[in-house]
């Protein structure tokens, strides 16, 4: 279908401009263009595929509703991420899944009196042949450590590292100064290193 897509060479901004001029396919092209990227972001941010799909759909519905607010030439990508992030936060609030726990919290005491942190507990989930399990276990541990970051830090890590947004774009998405983006990212990395140092398998790796 891509070979037939007349919008391949259009920028996001061109697509929105064309849609506003009445070419409805341009909107569909934008949805398809961001299907993988934005769903991936929401899936990572929300940790739930059903919720991610719902928020993805809502994001484009909001984009459609706010189309009249779009100023020609304004970068679409950060705007889309802004809408998606707000929708994701609302969704988390509605689903009462919003958790702000640090790695030092929620320590659980085992029957033998030993105390494990959340990351350690997640690390014990590996099953199956050791070679196959190691990679998956490592991935889960990394994801768990990012998930356990406070939301303010987690947002910048996901947007900067996994989604590849520029500092300026992240600042626009989160409506904070660029300097704050930098300092949050710096602090997030420090926290992650601290968590990884506490985790035996990651420390060894």
């Amino acid at each position: 279908m891509d070979r037939l897509d007349p919008f391949n060479n259009c920028s996001d901004e061109d697509l929105l401009a064309q849609f506003r001029r009445g070419q409805s396919e341009a909107f569909g092209a934008l949805v398809r263009r961001y299907e993988r990227e934005l769903y991936g972001y929401l899936r990572r941010y929300l940790g739930d595929p059903t919720l991610a799909e719902d928020v993805f759909q809502n994001t484009f519905l909001q984009l459609y509703k706010k189309m009249h607010q779009y100023e020609a030439g304004r970068p679409v990508r950060p705007w889309l991420y802004t809408i998606a992030t707000h929708q994701a936060i609302d969704s988390l609030r509605r689903n009462a899944r919003h958790q702000s726990v640090s790695l030092d919290q929620n320590r659980e005491e085992l029957p033998n009196g030993e105390v494990h942190s959340l990351v350690d507990l997640l690390e014990t989930h590996g099953a199956g042949p050791l070679e196959q399990a190691e990679g998956e276990e490592r991935r889960e541990s990394i994801r768990a450590s990012v998930d356990q970051l406070p939301d303010l830090f987690r947002q910048v890590v996901v947007l900067a590292y996994y989604q590849g947004l520029k500092y300026r774009e992240i600042a626009d998405v989160l409506d904070i100064p660029v300097g704050t983006v930098k300092s949050r990212l710096h602090a997030a990395l420090a926290k992650l290193q601290e968590a990884w140092n506490e985790s035996p398998s990651l420390r060894e790796a």
């Binding site: 396919e25 484009f60 459609y64 509703k65 990679g135 992240i170 930098k182 990395l189 992650l192 290193q193």
Partner: protein, 326 residues
């Protein structure tokens, strides 16, 4: 400057800051060492770089959701707000009770007809869908016999007989229509069996055709195909396309369609229309603007130029009534 090093590694800096950071790194060996440490520090995140695939058809469902909103918005009519009656001081409770009881009875009696109407309405929609499925059996058989092509109303017969309604005589001619199929939507009129074969149609003169043209496809609409630089193309079952999003038949369009209104088919009281798709599924759509397989939305009764004519591309579906010309 040190805070920019992470941004440098992640390619998150704007071009000016990036150049500035590069110059800083060139003249500062300690910064280069710090960069190397940061690179190592970020490395574990790479283990979780892989993103999940989106569920199949996510973009289609997203467009459907937007289309649903779009149509709800277009079809919503401001409702008059009922004036709130002023609270009156109750002086005689027996009289009030009688009034309440009478009101309840009145409400119940008023509720019964709408409930019955709703049941009848739902029944008609299902009956109409069953009827469209009967048409699909014939259309599918026809496409099997003709290399995937459905009846092409533009080419089946010469002008002035080249109307959308002639797909019924074409199917009749090949003996494909089941005996119980009706060209009238069960919600709109009495069951009427198709009357004319292609042979009958070609033996009519222009005046006779005018008089009977609405009887051809009755209260249904059929695809007018599309026209491009390569000429006219009839509807075709193409395995490489999303046939589940390509309509072939539907309840007929509203009569005032040329005025550019957005009203629905009159067959079901204007509440929507049954649409039969090329893969054989039939859905009642409360709006006539549907997501199309190329992305975006498509008015199933008008082409991209807002005309009742053949579409402008393979994705521009136009379902014309019995008398519509491609």
């Amino acid at each position: 400057m040190d805070e920019n090093l992470i941004g440098y590694l992640l390619n998150a800096l704007d071009s000016d800051t990036r150049r500035e950071t590069e110059r800083y790194l060139q003249r500062n060996p300690e910064a280069r060492e710090q960069l190397s440490e940061l690179r190592q520090a970020l490395e574990p995140l790479e283990a979780d770089r892989e993103t999940c695939d989106p569920p199949p058809g996510l973009w289609v469902r997203t467009l459907a959701r937007v289309a649903e909103f779009q149509c709800r918005q277009l079809s919503s009519v401001p409702r008059r707000v009922a004036a709130r009656s002023e609270t009156t001081h109750r002086t005689w409770w027996r009289r009030a009770d009688v009034l309440v009881a009478a009101s309840v009875l009145l409400c119940v009696s008023l509720m019964i007809p709408p409930i019955l109407a709703k049941v009848r309405y739902q029944r008609d929609i299902v009956a109409c869908q069953n009827n469209l499925h009967n048409f699909y059996f014939a259309l599918n058989d026809y496409s099997s016999r003709h290399h995937g092509n459905f009846p092409d109303v533009a080419k089946a017969v010469p002008a002035p007989f080249n109307v959308a309604g002639n797909f019924v005589p074409v199917l009749m001619e090949e003996g494909l229509l089941p005996g119980d199929v009706s060209v009238q939507c069960p919600a709109y009129g009495k069951s009427t069996h198709p009357q004319y074969t292609l042979h009958d149609l070609l033996n009519m003169d222009a005046e006779e055709l005018d008089g009977r043209i609405w009887n051809l496809a009755g209260s249904y609409a059929y695809s007018l195909g599309y026209r491009d630089a390569g000429g006219e193309h009839g509807p075709r079952l193409d395995p490489s396309q999303l046939n589940s999003m390509r309509p072939i038949m539907a309840d007929r369009p509203p009569r005032d369609i040329v005025l550019g209104t957005i009203s629905n088919s009159p067959n079901h009281g204007g509440a929507g229309q049954n649409v039969l798709f090329m893969d054989g599924h039939c859905t009642f759509c409360p709006q006539r603007v549907l997501p199309c397989s190329a992305g975006g939305f498509d008015d199933i009764y008008l082409n991209q130029d807002n005309q009742v004519q053949a579409g402008r591309s393979p994705w521009d579906t136009v379902l014309g009534d019995s008398a519509a010309h491609p």
